[in-house]
Amino acid sequence: MANPVKIIKNGIINENPTFIQVIGMCPTLAVTSSAINGIGMGLSTTAVLIFANIFVSLLRKVIPDTVRIPCFIVVIATFVTIIEFMLKAYLPALNASLGLYIPLIVVNCIILARAEAFASKNGPFSSACDGIGMGLGFTLALGVLGLVREFIGAGTLFDITVLPEAFPRTLLFVMAPGAFFTLACLMAILNHFRNKKA
């Protein structure tokens, strides 16, 4: 069995789902207008990812190969529904601001991709670690994106005002175009460092 720390680190850094694999873009762009929303979305996805990975891994010998994708989707949809109810019950404010994007975790390609590429080939423990790593990598990316956009667009960090009132806010950054620009710049910065290393 592979080293769990290595699997987790792989998900956060080497194969970061957002910056390296560039998958799961819809929630990445849509909910990162503030850091809290981004991290909330990241953690919800992480929870679904961990449980979906464990269950897919446990069922991997039972599920026939030809119908595996629909089976994976049912497993994922079940956990998304559970998470949706939990959020509604315990964090109604977060649920309201994430809105439509909570049920849409089902079609987040990260989860299906990990089920197909990792959980269907590895044991439950490794799969759980993979879920944690990928989930945290995703959460990290969403958190950073949310922080930058919130800071430039609203002058706040985690809803606490940090820029003086007189300082102009660039509203564009909390609106749709800002999401594209911020992600583009973050990726370009990472590319720059990678090019230097190579």
């Binding site: 819809c26 849509a30 989707i73 998304v80 109810f85 439509l100 079609v107 609106m175 749709a176 590319n191």
Partner: protein, 192 residues
């Protein structure tokens, strides 16, 4: 009148890609050439309209009477997955030419979040059958418009020099951001 507004709003104001970030994966993935982008756009229009109609029927004729509306997410995603499979088989048999054109894009549509997004939005807003279908047609046409425009711009950019760090995805995202600003201009057009 309102129905026409619903379609126009779907295409311009609430554009799925540009203002709601649904369907970004195919938007970034299959937009390197105008031809393939047009194929993807057509396939999405086709599947999304069918899926919205089917989802409405499943929701109001099965989930509501049985009082299991909380299962909507599982029901919709299964519906979309099987619908896509069915459409693929149907086209292969009865319209091989169309299948040739759309074939490769069909499986990708299952994970296009705009399709599920439209079904969930219709349900949350309580649209009736006709409104649901028109909302889907408008939304899908908006997706097609956005992806074809985007592919056109990317074809041009491919021939230009960009800073090395911006090669590939970052440049595509910047382009999408600029397009998104243009689409913001429509935002006051229609109030729904």
């Amino acid at each position: 009148m309102n129905l026409i507004l619903l379609i126009l709003a779907g295409i311009f104001v609430n554009n799925y890609v540009m203002s709601q970030f649904l369907g970004i994966c195919p938007f970034l993935g299959v937009s390197k050439k105008v031809d393939t982008a047009a194929g993807m756009g057509m396939a999405v229009i086709f599947v999304m309209s069918l899926a919205a109609a089917a989802a409405w029927l499943v929701y109001s004729l099965i989930l509501v009477p049985l009082n299991i509306t909380y299962l909507y997410n599982i029901a919709f995603i299964l519906l979309i997955a099987s619908l896509v499979q069915f459409v693929e088989m149907f086209l292969k048999k009865s319209a091989p030419a169309l299948y040739q054109a759309l074939g490769v894009f069909l499986p990708l549509i299952t994970t296009n979040c705009a399709v599920l997004g439209v079904a969930v939005t219709n349900m949350q807003k309580g649209y009736n059958f006709i409104e649901s279908v028109l909302n889907a047609v408008g939304g899908a046409a908006g997706f097609a418009l956005a992806i074809i425009l985007f592919a056109g711009i990317r074809e041009r950019i491919a021939d230009n020099d960009t800073p090395k760090a911006f090669d590939g995805f970052p440049m595509a995202l910047i382009t999408a951001g600029l397009m998104s600003i243009a689409f913001l201009g429509f935002s006051g057009l229609i109030k729904l």
